[in-house]
Structures are given as structure tokens and as C-alpha cells.
């Protein structure tokens, strides 16, 4: 009798759990459809910022003698082997 009750309870638990998994599948299907729609319509694609275009040719006032240019002093070159 006790075993029969436990088996019935186990059956009820299983069917309740199957219902939960089915609800999960419904959520999953909705989520999947929503994801595909959002992807294909580009709603989730971030907007690329507009970069200012560089003028071409460079203006004559544009500096060409940057302080970071590698300028090896003459006395260093004289000592080099």
C-alpha cells in the first residue's frame, strides 16, 4: 500500500516536472524567435560612431616636425663604429 502511494506520488511529481520543462520549452521558443527577429532587424547592433573625415591633401599648416621624431644627434653618429 505504502509503495503504491509512493509510486503514485512519484508519478505526480514526474508529470509536474514534465509540465515545468514544457513551460521552459515554450519560454525557450519565444526567446529564440525574439532573438532571431532582433538579429535580423539589426535592433541589437550598436550604432557605429561617425568619425570626422581627414582632409586630403593635408593643409600646409599641418606640423611635420614632431618632437617624437627619431633624430639622432651627430656626435652619436660620429662615435658609432
Amino acid at each position: 500500500m505504502n509503495e503504491k502511494n509512493t509510486a503514485e506520488t512519484a508519478g505526480e511529481v514526474s508529470s509536474r516536472q514534465v509540465r515545468l520543462v514544457t513551460i521552459g520549452a515554450a519560454f525557450g521558443a519565444l526567446a529564440l524567435v525574439a532573438s532571431i527577429v532582433v538579429s535580423l532587424t539589426g535592433l541589437s547592433t550598436p550604432e557605429i560612431p561617425q568619425f570626422p573625415a581627414m582632409q586630403n591633401p593635408l593643409p600646409s599648416s599641418f606640423p611635420r616636425n614632431f618632437p617624437t621624431d627619431l633624430r639622432i644627434p651627430d656626435f652619436v653618429l660620429e662615435k658609432a663604429p
Partner: protein, 482 residues
């Protein structure tokens, strides 16, 4: 803790188990070969494309390039692994060569040869990005905490720790490695056949399905290897969650570092990624989706009828794949909507808004997992009462006096604490060991009857002998029976 060595070593000893385990491995490798074929015959969109799109190497910095590309040497290793596996299977099929235990060893060797190279992908990733030890240690610590939670949330008939660790390893090495290789190949295939501008998002959807499928393979292999241990939704749920946790670990280590390197572009730092992936969202994401899928497999195991089983696993797969894809794609859209009215980058955004936007998709799935766990644990408590009483009727290992203590966790704890106060620490620990062995025996009784298999009776005898041995040892010390 039950010693499962005997179960593990004999797990693929019979022909049916061996065939099923090898079938799963062959299917996983077969999917790889299908991708390879599709990649080979894909329409070329540019004149100088390589034969296989997966071999296209990205010209980025070393570590970033290794993250986003599949090295040709790795594909060569996969090919060598497949050929080695075929040779080993041919040897196993030869009755003169493979007799007795040797065929079991050959089966394990075949599985290792065919899947091992895919694990290299994950290992390479962890080695390349593992140079930042604090990140690895921090991720390992949070993963260990969740494994501890998973071990203790099962109630009666817990899975052995080694089984949880094996599931974690499957997720960290095989699921991550295989899904990355599949995805890298799918990128070329999607680009070649569809050429859609949203191919990266399509890839995310593809990734959700792939992770789900390889997780199912992991739970099914656990089912074959550990036999009567996977008997209900709770055992499947815990195994699935451990697999998802392993995947999450291998994914988090490189992502935290890559986001750290690219924070000037993305605006999200490595610390923020750790907060999202390994702190507030640690139980969500792949852990939740794989837990749902594992629970479905556990439920299918106890269901009669092949068609119904396939439906339940299919439902779990749909839930996991849909949730996995949505939790990567939809938060980006929510974020764009929220950015129009909320400031970004401040403490409110970091601590509340961004995590909430990321977690909102996962909440329904997480609630379902909690409901599955709750109903499963309650059913286990009822099963424990019955199994302990049934084992007491056999006699020897569990007496009728001990039954009320064993079925009630509060009484069990009270007995241990009282023994500690009355007889000292050693006596309390000895009582705890006896109780654990008795519960393992009752769990075996329940799982054995539930699995409906005749084999494994020797395991029950071994557990009974263990309880009696522990009781005898305890009886020679101070009296501790409550």
C-alpha cells in the same frame, strides 16, 4: 561518500553500454565532419579565400588571434585523433586481440583519442589566458563555491563529488572545445551560404544549440558511465548545472581578459565582466540553461516510451538553446533602449542597471530550475523515508531505532551535536560517518529499485558491509548510538 570505483571501472564493460558510449562520441565527431564537408563545398565570396574558411587566420595580436582563430595544427590533431580512434575500434572489434578487460580499455582509449583534441582548444585557451593567475584563481574559487552548492542542494542520494567534477571537466574542456570548433566552422558556412549581415547574431543562436547538444551528450555519457546514479530530474539537473559551470569557467577566463584589453573600445572592463559572469550571474547563464536541459534528460530516463523521452529531451533542448541565444542577444537591445533615458558607466549602471538588463532574460528559466529542484528534493525526502524503512526491514545495517534519526536531518544533527558534547569530537565524527554510510545504503536501495536493473546487487552488499564495519569500529570506542 560512496566509493564508485567499482561502478566506474565496469561501466562500459557490457556491449550495450559500450555501443551507446561510442555512438555518442561518433555522433559528435560525425557533426564535425559534416561541418568540414559544408565548409569545403561552400560558395566562395572572395577570390583568395582558403580551401577551408575555418583556416582563415585573423591578423590580430597573438593572444587575441588565438582566441578568435582555430590553429591549423589543432585541426591536424583532430584528424590524427579520428584516425587513431578508428584504428582502436578496429582492434576492439578483433576478438583475438580484444578479450576481457582489454576491450574496456580500448573503448576508453577510443573516446579519449576522438574527443581529446577538442579538449586541446579549451586547454590552449586556458594556458594562453591563464598567465593572469588572479583571474584563473578568482574564477576557480567562484566555480568551487557553486559546485559545493550543487553537492549540498540534492538532499537525499547525492551524486558523488567525482561525478560532479567529471561533469565540470566535460563542460570546461569538451563542451567548450567542441562548440568553439563547431562555431568557427559554422561562421564560414553561414558566411558562404547566407552572407547575412547579422551572421554574428546567427552564430550566437547556433552556439546556443551546439552547447545544448554537447551538454546532452555529456549527461547521456554520465548516464552510461555512472549507471543507476542518474535516476531523476534532480540528478540530471545537478549534472547539467555542473557541465554549464565548467563551460562558463573556460569561457569567462579569456573573456574577462579580452574585455580588459579592449575596454577602451567596448567600455566594459575585465572587472565588470567578472562581476557579471562570475558573481551576480554565476548561477544564471549556462548554469541555468544546462541545468534545465539536464533535468529534462533525468526526467526522460524515468519515462517509458521512446517517443515521449525524445519529446522531453527536445523540450529541454529548445528551452536551453532559446534561453542561451536570447541571453546573449536580447540584453544588447534592452541596453540600447535603456541608454536613451539612463546614464551609462556610473555606479548605478554598473551595479544595478546593466546586471538587471543581462539577467532579465534568464529569470523565468532560473525560476523553472528552482521549481524543478524544489519538487525533486521534496520527492527525494519522501523516497528517503521509504528507502530507510525498507532497508531497516532487511536488518543489520539499519535498525528500527535509527530510522527516525536517519529520515530527519534536524534529528541527525542533534544526535551528532549531543554525541560531540557527551563523548567528544572523534565519537561525533564516527557517528557522522555511520549515518552517511547508512544514507548511502538507503540511496542505493532507492536508486537500484528505481533503475529497474538487476545488476549492482554486489554494490548493495558492499555498502551494507561498510555500515557494519563502521558500526563495529565505533562500538569498540565509546558508545555513541543515540
Amino acid at each position: 561518500m560512496t566509493d564508485d570505483l567499482s561502478i566506474t571501472s565496469g561501466s562500459v564493460r557490457d556491449d550495450a553500454s559500450r555501443r551507446r558510449a561510442l555512438l555518442i562520441v561518433r555522433l559528435l565527431v560525425g557533426v564535425f565532419l559534416v561541418y568540414l564537408l559544408l565548409d569545403l563545398v561552400r560558395p566562395r565570396r572572395q577570390p583568395d579565400e582558403p580551401v577551408l574558411a575555418v583556416l582563415r587566420q585573423l591578423k590580430l595580436s597573438d593572444s587575441l588571434g588565438q582566441t578568435l582563430s582555430i590553429p591549423p595544427r589543432l585541426l591536424a590533431a583532430v584528424a590524427v585523433g579520428i584516425v587513431t580512434g578508428l584504428i582502436l575500434q578496429a582492434l576492439a572489434a578483433n576478438a583475438r586481440f580484444a578479450g576481457g578487460r582489454r576491450v574496456v580499455v580500448l573503448t576508453w582509449a577510443t573516446m579519449a583519442a576522438m574527443l581529446g583534441p577538442f579538449a586541446l582548444v579549451s586547454l590552449v585557451m586556458l594556458i594562453v589566458f591563464g598567465s593572469s593567475l588572479p583571474v584563473v584563481v578568482a574564477c576557480a574559487a567562484s566555480s568551487a563555491f557553486v559546485l559545493w552548492l550543487l553537492h549540498h542542494c540534492q538532499g537525499f542520494a547525492r551524486l558523488p563529488v567525482r561525478m560532479l567534477l567529471a561533469a565540470f571537466g566535460w563542460g570546461a574542456l569538451i563542451v567548450f572545445g567542441l562548440s568553439r570548433v563547431y562555431n568557427a566552422m559554422a561562421l564560414g558556412v553561414i558566411d558562404g551560404y547566407l552572407g547575412t549581415p547579422s551572421e554574428l547574431d546567427m552564430l550566437v543562436v547556433h552556439m546556443g544549440v551546439v552547447v545544448g547538444v554537447v551538454t546532452v551528450a555529456g549527461v547521456l555519457l554520465s548516464l552510461i558511465v555512472f549507471r543507476h546514479r542518474v535516476t531523476d530530474a534532480v540528478s540530471g539537473l545537478v549534472l547539467g548545472a555542473a557541465i554549464g559551470l565548467g563551460y562558463n569557467f573556460t569561457e569567462s577566463v579569456p573573456l574577462i581578459q579580452v574585455y580588459g584589453l579592449l575596454s577602451w573600445v567596448t567600455g566594459a572592463t575585465g572587472g565588470f565582466q567578472y562581476w557579471i559572469r562570475q558573481s551576480i550571474g554565476l548561477l544564471g547563464g549556462h548554469v541555468t540553461f544546462c541545468a534545465l536541459l539536464g533535468a529534462a534528460v533525468g526526467l526522460a530516463v524515468q519515462t517509458r516510451g521512446r517517443g515521449r523521452r525524445v519529446l522531453i529531451v527536445g523540450a529541454g533542448l529548445l528551452a536551453a538553446a532559446g534561453g542561451s541565444a536570447a541571453h546573449e542577444i536580447l540584453p544588447a537591445w534592452f541596453s540600447q533602449l535603456a541608454r536613451q533615458s539612463l546614464p551609462t558607466g556610473g555606479p548605478l549602471d554598473t551595479l544595478v542597471v546593466s546586471p538587471a538588463l543581462w539577467l532579465v532574460v534568464q529569470v523565468p528559466f532560473f525560476v523553472l530550475v528552482l521549481a524543478l529542484l524544489w519538487t525533486g528534493v521534496r520527492a527525494r525526502a519522501a523516497a528517503a523515508r521509504e528507502a530507510v524503512a525498507a532497508e531497516a526491514t532487511v536488518g543489520g545495517a539499519i535498525t528500527t531505532r535509527e530510522v527516525p534519526f536517519l529520515v530527519d536531518p534536524a534529528l541527525r544533527l542533534w544526535a551528532v551535536v549531543s554525541t560531540w558534547r557527551g563523548y567528544g569530537r572523534d565519537a561525533a565524527l564516527a557517528l557522522r560517518r555511520v549515518q552517511t554510510a547508512q544514507l548511502d545504503l538507503a540511496a542505493w536501495h532507492w536508486q537500484h529499485r528505481r533503475s529497474g536493473r538487476d545488476e549492482g546487487a554486489s554494490e548493495g552488499e558492499r555498502l551494507r558491509a561498510k555500515v557494519i564495519r563502521l558500526k563495529t569500529r565505533t562500538a569498540t570506542g565509546p558508545a555513541v548510538t543515540p
